[in-house]
Amino acid sequence: MKIYKIMERKYIWFFISLAIIFAGLISAAINGLNWGIDFTGGTILHYNMGQTYELSEVRKTLTDLNIKDFEAKKAGDDGNELIIRTVVLSKDEQSKITESLKNKFSKIELIRAEKVDAVIGSELRKQAIVALIIANILMLAYISFRFQFISGIAAVLALIHDVLIVISWYALFRVPIDSSVIAVILTVVGYSINDTIVVFDRIRENLKNAKKVSFNEIANISIAQTLARSINTSLTTLLTIIALNLFGGETIKDFTMALIIGIVSGTYSSIFIASPLWSIWRKDAKTA
């Protein structure tokens, strides 16, 4: 079994993570996050054009209709689908768009339409934040109860790290954040804590048996012992979720991509972030 000096290089890991998070936060501060219509309110129209087409023609059609605030993007396996995102449109405006597009693309078919009021969005945002805080507090309580408070804090910080990485991904690549973001974040949180606990469990077990070795050594050994498991489990999870991302269709692409980022981050943080954090505070606490 090869034992890597993971604990000794903790500041490198911290730096890597902070750099990514920092980049994400800066991007969010400058460009803002790309809140989807679930949060901002708005309309999404999803068409099957039935033919190849140019986005510029679509843009022209909408501008001619005096619709200023919109995003149009190509979708679908062959790029024959069109997704338009705008502010809240009235029923009339919506059918006008469909009619005008129909004049240019005769085979066009509206396959999905969503309209959300801004009121719902602000409630959703509140819900998301509350859900996240409560989930974290409950998990912190559970880990503190099963391990110790210090390790609970380390584990929860690793979780927050993962959440921030996922948010950075949304920010850096301007991915629209829809209501599934809550599911993404809490799944990632659940996955990441799962991973962290496996490593912590091993550390706790090894601490009991070995007396004269330093915490760092025990942590390195424990990580090495659980490494095959960490890699294999994220591999099997990633296999399924990557399959979904590649073959599961347009509507869940962003959703599954966020999960992939989160799961990779969750595995990374349980090895490179959680245990080093635990060791830092343990040193200060000495007796713990």
Binding site: H46, K91, S95, E109, I111, R112, A113, K115, V116, D117, V119, I120, Q127, A128, A131, I134, A135, L138, M139, Y142, I143, R146, S179, S180, I182, A183, L186, T187, V189, G190, Y191, I193, N194, I197, V198, D201, R202, Q225, T226, A228, R229, N232, T233, L235, T236, T237, L238, L239, T240, I241, A243, L244, L246, F247, G248, G249, T251, I252, F255, L259
Partner: protein, 413 residues
């Protein structure tokens, strides 16, 4: 019966049970009065998978009035009647919170028409025999089912001041003629005027039962609903997109499962193969639970389920890694497998509980598809703990006990 035969019998029993479960899911089953349709027919699909319309309505009181339970319930009643006109097979109309109504219409093709019918303002009108509109719902204050003096069921109406004045004129004009009461263009009652009513308190007689009276009263109250319904959220998914999403996600799921199965066999050999059997049982149990609780499968739900398949082998991965360690330390297969299970147990327990905590919070705060995602996650975790711990353990320790395979290489040592 010797020890070996017993072990082999136990393995056979589990495999037979699994085969039975697989058959039930694929082809359905009928035992006496109990019938179970095959999975493809018995599982409910969400709007995003079969297409349809979802509307979230919010009731807003008219100026100077307040919302209350009764008004909300009448509003739900009105919406239900309108949806009935659409002839949707399984509409879902539910209250959400104090002021909202969720309407889900699976399979609706003409979403435009559906939205118009749901969205129009309630139009209760009293119309004279010559077609002139006497009153609208705005003038009706209340309607109640009551018993008359001879214990006959009737509906009592209370009108506001303008309504009373108009009604007095109309009852004079149409004396002994019928006045039709129309709700959304449909005649719900056409009582004949028997007296000139000036005080704004009328009764509708000639109803066959108190239930009919109650229904009529509810309709009139509903039509006179002093609330406006605003469409806060409207989502329509075309049937082709729904079917496409379903086919794609199922295909992707199959690919994912095959990859996981291959990985487990290649990496863990015989135990990996056992874990794959347990995984198949896991998939079948989860699907059976979905059917049993009448869960509605949505796209995020399927995604959650497929994700859970990848995570379901985690417990086995943990156990097998321990098992390999024990084998490397020179233990026999038998004691290594026991030690592997025992040592991994606490970890599996701790890690799964924390994931469940997150899922429960997700369930509590989420709505719609997100709730579905949480439910699939919780069912998945609980089931995987059973299959990955109990099923694999019984299979694996009996295979070892049966001495069918003794080469440690088969156990990836």
């Amino acid at each position: 019966m010797n020890y070996r035969t017993k072990s082999l019998l136990k393995i056979a029993l589990i495999l037979i049970l699994a085969a039975f479960l697989a058959y039930t899911l694929l082809y359905g089953i009928k035992i006496g009065p109990y019938k179970q349709a095959p999975l493809s027919k018995s599982i409910k699909l969400g709007l995003d998978l079969q297409g349809g319309v979802y509307v979230l309505l919010e009731a807003e009181p008219k100026p100077g009035q307040e919302l209350n339970e009764e008004k909300m319930n009448s509003a739900v009643e009105v919406i239900r009647r309108r949806v009935d006109q659409l002839g949707v097979a399984e509409p879902l109309i539910t209250r959400q919170g104090n002021t909202r109504i969720r309407v889900e219409l699976p399979g609706v093709k003409d979403s435009q028409k559906a939205l118009e019918i749901i969205g129009k303002t309630a139009s209760l009108r009293f119309v004279g025999p010559d077609g002139t509109v006497i009153l609208t719902g705005d003038n009706v204050r209340d309607a109640r089912a009551i018993y008359g003096q001879a214990n006959e069921p009737m509906v009592s109406l209370k009108l506001d001041d303008t309504g009373a004045k108009k009604f007095a004129e109309a009852t004079k004009k149409y004396f002994e003629q019928p006045i039709a009461i129309l709700l959304d263009e449909e005649v719900i009652s056409a009582p004949v005027v028997k007296a000139v009513i000036t005080n704004g308190e009328a009764v509708i007689e000639g109803l066959e039962s108190i239930d009919r009276a109650a229904e009529l009263a509810a309709l009139i109250r509903g039509g006179a609903l002093p609330v406006d319904l605003v469409q806060r959220e409207v989502r329509t998914v075309g049937p082709t997109l729904g079917a496409d999403s379903l086919a794609k996600s199922v295909a992707a799921g199959k690919i994912g499962v095959v990859l996981v199965i291959l990985f487990m066999i290649l990496y863990y050999r015989l135990p990996g193969f056992i874990a794959d059997i347990a995984l198949m049982i896991y998939v079948m149990i989860v699907l059976t639970v979905f059917i049993a609780i009448g869960a509605t499968l949505t796209l995020p739900g399927i995604a959650g389920f497929i994700l859970s398949i990848g995570m379901a082998v985690d417990a086995n991965v943990l156990i097998f890694e321990r098992f390999k360690e024990e084998l490397r330390n020179g233990k026999t297969l038998r004691s290594a497998i026991d030690a592997g299970f025992n040592r991994a147990m606490l970890t599996i327990f701790d890690s799964n509980i924390t994931t469940i905590i997150a899922a429960v919070v997700l369930f509590y705060f989420g709505s719609g598809p997100i709730k579905g995602f949480a439910v699939t996650l919780i069912i998945g975790i609980l089931t995987s703990m059973f299959t990955a711990i109990v099923v694999t353990r019984v299979l694996l320790s009996n295979i070892i006990a049966s001495k069918l395979f003794v080469n440690k290489k088969l156990f990836s040592a």
